[in-house]
């Protein structure tokens, strides 16, 4: 559908009598709504500027249409989002904004009073593109949550102007950056700042009192000098568990406190907690209207106005919890859904997608808590002897959000599955570690008595430098680290770290470009015997001893990691 030319005010002539004060979008919304076709079902709100977004959203609602929040503003995603009948895309250029100081403040727009079961927005759920579903949000969910947040925080921690580092097309950015401030009668800042310097400057210039952000964005504020953020600024964090050291850094450096809001796109907001002196209390308090229960270590929402109307109640969350007073302590995620940088992704789904990629014979995906700000880090092993890893990555990137594509995605010659096909998590992790510096390995044959692989020795391996000028040979330590250990961990379920070289004998040299046959015998008494050969001639023979499993490690099921905060 095409948008008729706006007939309302053009930039520069609309309402902005006071260049210092917040600017009023009322006329812009009138003009925009007046120009929308009458039979509109959906509007993809694809505006980068928060003021344009707010105006486009208000106009969409006035036209009785549903606002679609695109996953991102790339044209491909916009086309996906707009793939529906009677749907229009509104971009920044479609919204005639008046001139305003930079950064401008947006005067709170009145939020519409709509029946609570009326669908007002559509978001895309899950990290997977192929199976990405449109999830409707009702007025009760979206506007109701904005009102509840205003109720819980207005006048204390939610004081305008409000600056967000999360763009408004992201539901958290929309709720906390625009709708909750508007519900609380507070102005929002008309910019989305990302880089630490940009955040500091936008805070100073706009006089913002509230910063809405995510742990990954907040973590980078450590680049600023102490005092560059006013201690009167209050911070909201959501999207991933807030690392305690990020909260402590924000307090030590700037004297600010953080309110962490716990929830998800699917459930809406659930609960919150606020630091004191930079220290996060261990207990979450439910948001107004949310009633929780903890059963068998699992968090349930007995009642929540922010859940989809059709969701069961009590609603089982994917979170482990322990009841504490009127609230709960969060004990990590339960199932295979992890959150990477705010995007939820199912590890099983990711693994299935990996196995669907042409050329991929086997694969395994694990997640672990991320030391950075992403919440979780996804690593994967793939057996794809004839496929290019970058093609595998590209295939996953087409289906999943880039942050959910495993990093690293590591090529191995085979996976050490047990006879029943099981792959303990601890052996996956060991293989990930041991194959980090492997040369390309390919499985040739394997039976109960032996494994035979081929190793290709790259000509540009840094190990050849200095070994020896004009006469490069592969050092013994490289043979162990780059060939023997990765091959052994791929063929046999090694759980402990390599302990020592039990036996080692060099018979002939291995050189750049060589194709080396790797013979392995199954572990016996904790040792794996090996022979490296070239053209049938033996080069190196020996045995490597592995430590036994760390206590409690062996036999752990291949359960996906919980993203423990």
């Amino acid at each position: 559908m095409k948008l008729p030319r706006p007939t309302g005010p053009t930039p520069g002539e609309a309402s902005s009598p006071d260049r210092r004060g917040p600017f009023d979008l009322a006329l812009v919304v009138d003009a925009l709504a007046g120009g929308l076709p009458g039979d509109l079902d959906r509007v993809v709100v694809a505006c980068r500027r928060p003021a344009a977004f707010a105006a486009a959203l208000a106009a969409t609602w006035r036209a009785g249409a549903v606002a679609v929040l695109p996953v991102n503003l790339g044209e491909g995603r916009l086309a996906d989002a707009a793939d529906a009948p009677r749907c229009l895309v509104l971009r920044d250029a479609d919204v005639p904004l008046p001139d305003a100081p930079d950064p401008a403040l947006i005067r709170p727009l009145p939020l519409p009073s709509l029946p609570s079961d009326r669908v007002v927005a559509e978001v895309f759920t899950s990290g997977s593109t192929k199976d990405r579903r449109r999830a409707p949000k009702t007025a009760g969910q979206l506007l109701g949550e904005a009102a509840a947040l205003a109720d819980a925080f207005a006048g204390t921690s939610l004081v305008g102007p409000v600056l967000a580092t999360v763009p408004p097309h992201h539901i958290y950015g929309l709720l906390f950056g625009l709708l909750a401030p508007f519900a609380a009668g507070q102005p929002a800042v008309d910019t989305t700042a990302l880089h630490p310097e940009a955040v500091a400057l936008a805070l100073r210039r706009s006089g913002a009192r509230t910063l809405v952000s995510t742990p990954a964005h907040l973590r980078s504020l450590a680049l600023l000098d102490p005092g560059e953020i006013d201690p009167g600024v209050h911070v909201f964090s959501s999207g991933a568990p807030l690392p305690p050291r990020t909260a402590a850094m924000l307090h030590d450096r700037f004297g600010v406190e953080v309110t962490e809001v716990f929830g998800s796109t699917e459930t809406g907001g659930i609960a919150h907690r606020t630091t004191r002196g930079g220290i996060l209390p261990d207990r979450f308090t439910p948001l107004p209207g949310v009633e929780i229960a903890v059963r068998a270590g699992r968090l349930f929402l007995v009642a929540s106005p922010f859940l989809p109307p059709s969701a069961p109640r009590p609603f089982p969350c994917d979170d482990g919890a322990e009841a504490a007073g009127a609230g709960f302590r969060h004990l990590g995620r339960l199932d295979d859904v992890v959150k990477v940088a705010g995007k939820r992704v199912s590890l099983r789904e990711l693994e299935r997608a990996l196995l669907d990629v042409p050329g991929v014979e086997d694969g395994a995906v694990v997640a672990e808590p991320d030391p950075g700000g992403r919440g979780a880090r996804i690593r994967a092993l793939v057996v794809a002897p004839d496929a290019d890893l970058s093609a595998v990555r590209a295939a996953l990137a087409r289906r999943f959000d880039p942050v959910c594509v495993p990093r690293p995605l590591r090529s191995v010659p085979c996976l050490p599955r047990t006879a029943t096909g099981k792959l303990p998590r601890v052996t996956i992790e060991r293989l990930l570690d041991l194959s980090a510096c492997a040369v390309p390995l390919r499985l040739l044959e394997r039976d109960d008595t032996a494994s035979l692989l081929e190793a290709r020795i790259p000509r540009d391996l840094p190990d050849f430098r200095g070994h020896f000028p004009g006469d490069p040979v592969l050092p013994g330590v490289s043979q162990i680290l780059r060939i023997v250990l990765p091959a052994a961990a791929a063929c046999y379920p090694v759980v402990g770290p390599p302990r020592r070289i039990a036996r080692l004998k060099f018979k002939a040299t291995i050189r750049p470009g060589d194709r080396v046959q790797v013979h392995l015998a199954p572990p016996s008494q904790g040792r794996i015997r090996f022979e490296l050969a070239r053209n049938g001639g033996s080069c190196t023979v020996g045995a490597v001893a592995f430590a036994a499993a760390p206590a409690g490690g062996e036999g752990a099921p291949c359960a996906p990691a919980a993203d423990r905060a």
């Binding site: 044209e75 940009a198 990954a216 680049l223 942050v403 990093r407 690293p408 090529s411």
Partner: protein, 109 residues
């Protein structure tokens, strides 16, 4: 992030040594263990979904900003539009680091 209409840094001088360092820094800081520094084309976009892009995201850009600060003492700009240009490719980043370091030396001299 949308692809800019022109390629930033096309006319910038190359800083081969610095570009090599930055490519290694990207791999290390962003834990791109399946990408080697040599895989990164110095003029290809680092971010976004455009063909040939390394496919990094906004969180990567902040991680990288922290790593560059730690390594070279440089801080990014207060203007995010300018930051998008600075972080466009290895070449634009190397040019930024080289320029910032020069300015720093002048200030100290």
């Amino acid at each position: 992030m949308d692809a800019p209409e022109r390629t930033p840094g096309r006319d910038l001088p190359a800083h081969p040594q610095l570009e090599q360092e930055i490519r290694a820094l990207i791999v290390e800081a962003l834990m791109l263990e399946d990408v080697t520094p040599d895989d990164i084309d110095p003029v290809a976009p680092l971010f976004g979904n455009a063909p040939g892009s390394l496919g990094l995201d906004s969180i990567d850009v902040l991680e990288l900003a922290m790593a560059l600060h730690k390594r070279y003492g440089v801080r990014t700009r207060s203007d995010d539009d300018r930051n998008r240009e600075v972080f466009y490719s290895v070449r634009t980043l190397a040019h930024f680091v080289a320029t910032e370091r020069k300015t720093d030396e002048k200030v100290q001299a």
